[in-house]
C-alpha cells in the first residue's frame, strides 16, 4: 500500500507542476494586457513600462514563473484589481463557503446515488428499477443552471418556502448549521447534487448488476450465507467502479458549482470565479483557478487511493 501511495504521488507531482504552469501562462495567453486593465487608458508609455517593472512583467517568462510560484506557495497571490483586498483573503472566504456547499451536495449525491443505484440494481428490470432509472435519466439530462433556475422559481418565487439568494444572515461568527443558514443551503445543494447523484446512481446500478452476474455469487449461495452477508460481497465488488466515478463527479461538481453559485449568489469560489471573469480581475482569476485545479488533482489522488483500498487488484496493476 505504501509503495502504491509513493507511485501515485510520483505521477501526481508533474501534473501539479503542469497545472501551475498553465494557470501562470493563462495571464499571458488571455487576450488583453493585464497592465492596461490597471492603468488609465491615456497612460504614457513610461507609466506602462514603470508598471511592468513594478509587477515583474519585464523579466523573462521562466523567471516570472519562478517568482510567481514561490510567492503562491507562501499564499501571496496578489491583490484583487476590483476590491483591493488580497486574493488570499478573498479566496479563503470563498473556499470555506464552497466547502460548505460541496460537502452538503457531495453527501447528498453519494448517499442518494449509491442507495438509488443499489435499489435499481437489486430490483433489476422490475418496477423499482424502472422508476429509479427514469429519475436518474432525468437527472443526467437536465443542465445545472436550468435546474437551479427551476428550483428558484418553484420553491422560492411561486411558493416562498425557501430563500432564493445568498447563504444566510451575515454574522461575525460566520456560518453555523442552524435553520437560518441551512434553509439557504437546501436549494443550491440540490441543484449541485442532481447530476453527480444521477451519474453515481447509474454507475452503481450497472456495477451491482455486473457483480450479481458473476459466478462467485452462486458460491455465496452454495455456502449458505445469509442475504446481508451476500449483499456485503456484492457491494464490495460494485464499490470500486462507483468510487472512481464518484471522484470524477465530485470534481465535475466544482464546475457545476460555478453556475449554481452564480444563480443563487452563493459567495463561493465559483461565484468569485464568475465575477473575476466578467470583471477581468486577473489576479483573482489566477488564484481561484490555481486553487480549484490543485484541489482537483488532490481529489483524484484521494479517489485513486480509496479505490485501491477497495479493490486489491488495482494495487498491483
Amino acid at each position: 500500500m505504501l509503495r502504491y501511495l509513493l507511485r501515485r504521488l510520483a505521477y501526481v507531482a508533474p501534473i501539479a507542476v503542469g497545472v501551475t504552469l498553465i494557470v501562470f501562462l493563462l495571464v499571458h495567453i488571455a487576450p488583453g494586457d493585464p497592465i492596461s486593465a490597471i492603468l488609465p487608458d491615456d497612460a504614457s508609455a513610461e507609466m506602462v513600462a514603470e508598471a511592468r517593472r513594478e509587477y515583474g512583467l519585464d523579466k523573462p517568462l521562466p523567471v516570472q514563473y519562478g517568482i510567481w510560484l514561490w510567492r503562491a506557495a507562501q499564499g501571496e497571490l496578489g491583490t484583487s484589481i476590483r476590491s483591493g483586498r488580497t486574493v488570499a483573503s478573498e479566496l479563503s472566504m470563498a473556499v470555506g463557503n464552497t466547502f460548505i456547499l460541496a460537502v452538503a451536495a457531495g453527501l447528498l449525491a453519494c448517499v442518494l446515488g449509491v442507495a438509488l443505484g443499489l435499489v435499481a440494481g437489486l430490483a433489476r428490470d422490475r418496477i423499482g428499477d424502472h422508476l429509479t432509472s427514469l429519475f436518474t435519466l432525468a437527472g443526467v439530462s437536465l443542465p445545472h443552471y436550468w435546474v437551479a433556475i427551476l428550483l428558484v422559481i418553484v420553491f422560492a418565487v411561486e411558493n416562498p418556502w425557501l430563500p432564493p439568494l445568498g447563504m444566510g444572515p451575515d454574522s461575525s461568527d460566520g456560518w453555523r448549521p442552524d435553520w437560518a443558514h441551512l434553509q439557504h443551503l437546501i436549494l443550491p445543494a440540490i441543484a449541485t447534487a442532481l447530476i453527480p447523484m444521477a451519474v453515481i446512481a447509474r454507475t452503481m446500478r450497472a456495477s451491482v448488476i455486473e457483480a450479481l452476474d458473476q459466478d462467485f455469487v452462486t458460491t455465496l449461495h452454495a455456502k449458505g450465507l445469509l442475504p446481508g452477508r451476500r449483499l456485503w460481497h456484492v457491494l464490495r465488488n460494485a464499490l470500486p467502479t462507483t468510487l472512481a466515478v464518484t471522484g470524477l463527479q465530485l470534481g465535475n461538481m466544482l464546475g457545476g458549482s460555478v453556475l449554481v453559485e452564480t444563480v443563487f449568489a452563493w459567495p463561493g469560489t465559483g461565484f468569485l470565479l464568475a465575477n473575476a471573469i466578467f470583471q477581468r480581475d486577473l489576479p483573482v482569476l489566477q488564484g481561484t483557478m490555481l486553487v480549484l485545479s490543485l484541489f482537483f488533482v488532490v481529489l483524484n489522488l484521494a479517489v485513486d487511493l480509496l479505490q485501491s483500498w477497495a479493490d486489491p487488484r488495482i494495487r498491483r496493476a
Binding site: 458473476q214 459466478d215 449461495h221 455456502k223 449458505g224 487488484r313
Partner: protein, 320 residues
C-alpha cells in the same frame, strides 16, 4: 439412515424463447454415506444442472424444478429458503469448476473460509481464521498463514481450487458435490487435486458426487458411476459394472472414445453426431439418431430403466 443423497424424478426446465425447455428429465440417483459417485456425460447433458438442483441452486436462476431430493433424509425442494441456506455449506459442500471466478476477487481467501464457520458454526472471526488455517494445512496449501491473507488472484489455479475445497469442507459436511473440480487445471495439478480429494474423502468419510468428462478420473475415484444423456440417467451401477461391462450403447461409445485415443486403428464403437437439441427431442429413445444398435422400437417407444444385474440399470431396449 445410511443414505446421503436420494434423488427421484428430478425434472428441471429453463425458460427460453420457445417456452420451458426440459434440461433434466426425471433423474433418479441414490448415494450411500461415504461413497463416491461419478456423474458422466457429454457437454450439455445436464450434469451441472442436476448437481445445482440437489441443493436448490437452480430455482434462483428461474428454473422450474420438480421431483424429490433428499439430503440426509431431509426433503430439500420442500424446504423454505432459509432452511436451504442452513443446509448449504454446513451439510453439503460444493466445489465449482472454475476456481478463478467461483471465489470473490475482492475478499481475502481466509475471510472467505472463515465466513462459512461464522455463519454455520457460530464461530467468532478469530476462531474462524484459526480453523481456516487448519483447513489450509488439511488441503496442503504451503505457507498457510501468508496465503490466508492473499486475494484469489494472488494464488495459482491449483491453490485456488484447494482453497475452494477448504471452503466446501469447512464444516465437514457429510455430502460433497464437486462439479468438474479439476477440469480447469493444468494436467499435473489435476492429478494432485484429484488425489487430495480422494484422500480427504477417505479421511473424512464424505459422500461425494463427482461430475466429470474424464472416464479415467471416474475409474480412479468412483465407487459408483451414473451416465447422463439428454437430461436422463441412461446407465448406473457400480464402477466395475458400468465401466467394465457397459450395457448402454451410449456408455459403450463413450468408453470407445477413450480407448481409441490410445489405439488409433482399433475398430470400436463410434460416437458420431452431435448432442441432441433438448427443445426438440426425437420420439422414442433420445439417443436413437446416433445409436449404432438402434432397431425398430427405438424410434417409437421410450425405453424404461431396467435392472440388468443387482444394482446395474440401463435405459435401453436392447436385451429385453
Amino acid at each position: 439412515m445410511s443414505v446421503a443423497l436420494e434423488v427421484s424424478g428430478l425434472e428441471v426446465a429453463y425458460r427460453s424463447a420457445r417456452g420451458f425447455v426440459p434440461v433434466v428429465r426425471g433423474v433418479d440417483l441414490t448415494l450411500a454415506k461415504g461413497r463416491v459417485l461419478a456423474l458422466l456425460g457429454e457437454s450439455g447433458s445436464g450434469k451441472s444442472v442436476t448437481l445445482r438442483s440437489v441443493v436448490g441452486l437452480t430455482a434462483r436462476e428461474g428454473a422450474r424444478v420438480s421431483g424429490r431430493v433428499r439430503v440426509l433424509g431431509q426433503d430439500v425442494l420442500a424446504m423454505d429458503a432459509r432452511r436451504q441456506l442452513d443446509l448449504r455449506g454446513s451439510q453439503v459442500g460444493f466445489v465449482f469448476q472454475e476456481p478463478m471466478t467461483a471465489l470473490d476477487p475482492v475478499f481475502r481467501v481466509g475471510d472467505q473460509i472463515a465466513e462459512v464457520l461464522v455463519r454455520h458454526r457460530g464461530a467468532t472471526w478469530a476462531e474462524g481464521m484459526a480453523r481456516a488455517r487448519a483447513l489450509f494445512d488439511l488441503v496442503q496449501i504451503p505457507a498457510a498463514a501468508q496465503r490466508l491473507r492473499a486475494y484469489p488472484s494472488e494464488l495459482s489455479g491449483g491453490l485456488r481450487q484447494r482453497a475452494m475445497i477448504a471452503i466446501a469442507l469447512a464444516c465437514e459436511p457429510p455430502l460433497l458435490l464437486a462439479d468438474e473440480p479439476t477440469t480447469a487445471l493444468d494436467a499435473t495439478v489435476q492429478i494432485q487435486v484429484l488425489l487430495l480429494l480422494r484422500d480427504l474423502q477417505k479421511q473424512l468419510g464424505t459422500a461425494v458426487v463427482f461430475v466429470t468428462h474424464d472416464l479415467g478420473v471416474a475409474a480412479e475415484i468412483a465407487d459408483e458411476v451414473a451416465v447422463m444423456y439428454a437430461g436422463r440417467i441412461v446407465e448406473r451401477g457400480s464402477a466395475e459394472q458400468v465401466l467394465l461391462a457397459p450395457e448402454h450403447p451410449y456408455t459403450r461409445a463413450l468408453l470407445g472414445c477413450v480407448v481409441r485415443g490410445g489405439y488409433a486403428e482399433a475398430p470400436l464403437v463410434e460416437l458420431a453426431g452431435s448432442p441432441p437439441d433438448l427443445a426438440r427431442l426425437p420420439p422414442g429413445c433420445s439417443f436413437a439418431p446416433r445409436c449404432v444398435s438402434a432397431f425398430a422400437p427405438c424410434g417409437v417407444e421410450e425405453p424404461g430403466e431396467r435392472e440388468r444385474e443387482a444394482g446395474h440399470r440401463a435405459r435401453c431396449h436392447l436385451g429385453r
